[in-house]
């Protein structure tokens, strides 16, 4: 890995971590788990398209680990990790079908996957199937938040189209 590439990965991880922590400090809009913007996702997407799969994985998983430690909410770690692993797997799997112009679509699909994963983890952790009633609202939240973060990453990627890392 070239030095420039390594440094970029580190910077993106730091940015993802900061945005994650700022977002964690803002009181939630609704009393429903999992409804948030997920701005940190912008940096994962950017890393995936600009740098590569390994770098994106580093940005995502280091952010989840450090974010859970820094916010002191280890309880959210298991949910973040479940959602993170599932959405990242989908992201890597489907990336080839989505050119830079359609990063927003990939992002929306992955955000939905993320929320579904978290909900699944919540069902397992509480042993209560009724929590699945929250599925529709989490799918909507995922599509809206994913589209937004995807567009953010997409706009930057399109501006830097001819850049090499």
């Amino acid at each position: 890995m070239k030095t420039k590439n390594l440094i970029l990965t580190a910077i993106l991880t730091a940015l993802a971590l900061v945005s994650f922590m700022i977002e964690a400090a803002i009181p939630p809009l609704t009393p429903i788990y999992g409804i948030k913007l997920g701005i940190a996702n912008v940096f994962t997407l950017f890393a995936l398209y600009a740098l590569g799969t390994r770098q994106a994985a580093a940005v995502l998983f280091l952010r989840i680990l450090l974010g859970s430690i820094f916010t002191g909410q280890l309880v959210s770690f298991i949910y973040s990790l479940t959602g993170g692993v599932l959405s990242f797997a989908l992201m890597v799997l489907l990336k080839r079908f989505f050119p830079v112009k359609q990063v927003w679509v990939l992002s929306a699909l992955c955000a939905v996957m993320h929320n579904v994963g978290q909900l699944g983890a919540a069902v397992l952790m509480t042993g209560t199937v009724q929590i699945l009633y929250y599925l529709p609202v989490l799918v909507i939240a995922g599509i809206i938040a994913g589209t937004f973060t995807g567009l953010c990453a997409q706009l930057v990627l399109m501006r830097l189209k001819n850049q090499t890392y």
Binding site: P31, Q73, T126, Q130
Partner: protein
């Protein structure tokens, strides 16, 4: 697929989910019997109609205590020591489709005999 196709697919999904959510968040409970669960185990089953005086039920979990307030026809999470307090912000348990959930302490308060009939775990009303 073109962007336009995706816009249609995703908007349509949002629409369908919105309809489902409207339906779910307005499901009326089939009875006034509620169950308080922790770690998937029943802690207490209460018929809200037969509650005569207000009382509090305290549960302790990994992240501190949860206090459930029960009065005639009403149940809510009065206070909690969990980090996010989303269970308290939920307010009163209103319908069969949206249980009160405290993820950190793994507490769930929900109406029994919910429309999906999931009551197998607990058996009869205590």
């Amino acid at each position: 697929m073109k962007n336009r196709v995706w816009i249609i697919i995703l908007s349509f999904s949002v629409l369908i989910c919105a309809v489902c959510w409207l339906y779910i968040s307005n499901l009326s409970p089939l009875s006034q019997i509620v169950g308080i669960y922790q770690n998937g185990n029943l802690v207490e089953k209460i018929d809200l109609n037969s509650v005569t005086e207000r009382r509090e039920i305290t549960l302790s979990g990994e992240y501190g205590k949860n206090t459930v307030l029960v009065s005639n026809g009403h149940i809510m999470m009065k206070s909690a020591e969990c980090p996010d307090k989303l269970c308290v912000k939920h307010g009163e348990l209103k319908n069969g489709g949206t249980p009160i959930v405290c993820l950190p302490n793994r507490v769930v308060v929900k109406f029994e005999d919910s429309p999906d009939g999931a009551d197998a775990k607990t058996g009869a009303v205590r």
